[in-house]
Symmetry: C2
Subunit: 187 residues, 2 copies
């Protein structure tokens, strides 16, 4: 962030009066340009007990498997965002079965939020951002080829909760692993 998006003047990075941390500030028009974490919303979609995963056709993590998820857009609710992302990435219509996991990823300024969901008619297909979409039995999940740690944790929690038939909302923080610190793929 170099220039003011309101008046085009160069920005200064400084602590504004009355605040306690550095912000991008426009000395010409006075605008403070706040930056905040973003939300990734997604689904854990089921059909006949199997889990729908998407193989990514985009970076980061091209070729790896993920739950359908993406950036929440303006004007959406959380579950609308999760349902839209499932439609876009897996061409699947789902009904939300409620909030399931909430993970903070402070090193990438993101919060990942997943809902449990059920396919409405069992139909799915790769969207433009997916190479492949497939239903996986519990024993078939490609653990070594998952795209993101929040996807792994959501799937692990789901299988654990399923085994005792009790689903509770999970909340946590996910920091980069030592390997990821060296080789910064996101999340």
């Amino acid at each position: 962030m170099k220039f003011c998006s309101h008046c085009s003047a160069p920005l200064t990075f400084k602590i504004p009066a009355g605040e306690d941390r550095e912000r991008f500030v426009c000395e010409r028009c006075g605008t403070i340009h706040y930056q905040n974490p973003r939300i990734i919303a997604g689904c854990l979609p089921l059909w006949e007990g199997k889990i729908l995963l998407c193989r990514r056709a985009i970076e980061p993590r091209y070729g790896f498997w993920t739950l359908p998820a993406g950036f929440m857009e303006l004007g959406e609710t959380l579950d609308q965002a999760a349902i839209r992302e499932t439609r876009e990435e897996a061409c699947a219509e789902v009904e939300s079965h409620g909030l399931y996991t909430v993970y903070s990823l402070p090193h990438v300024n993101q919060v990942h939020i997943f809902f449990r969901a059920e396919l409405i008619d069992g139909r799915f297909a790769p969207g433009p951002e997916s190479l492949e979409t497939r239903l996986f039995e519990e024993t078939e999940i490609p653990w070594d080829e998952l795209a993101f740690s929040t996807v792994r944790r959501t799937l692990e929690s789901f299988l654990e909760d399923k085994s005792r038939d009790r689903f509770e909302v999970k909340v946590g923080d996910l920091l980069p692993s030592p390997v990821m610190r060296q080789n910064p793929t996101p999340c």
Copy 2:
């Protein structure tokens, strides 16, 4: 948003290639300026069974009572943000007792997230953004003077859950009331 924050060129509002909605796009350097909802994180802080509220010293809703809450910052986890806001607005140190409410407010592009929390040493005082801080018995809550609908809903849920001694995460959407549509105070 009028000018590119990377190169200062005027922005165009259009649908970028491969996308499905309008964005602010820089025709000179090619940057797409995404805008996303922001997270408000806060606490429902308890001390000896009473609830700590803050009377706002800032707009919007100057003079109305709120749970301590504010915008999540870069580099934070959700509970760090909620704890920091409680420190800033009520000069109180709290221990989180877990995620409690999650509300989408699509009309203001916000998600409000509250944690149940307990004061660590019972100390509190108004921070710079509060006129007053006070512990309220259940029967004393100033329902007609609450600042935001998400605060009201969180308090209502808490009292209901408390009466049956079982606390569960609540998720929902809050749209503006007809009155608020006419007189747009946030949330």
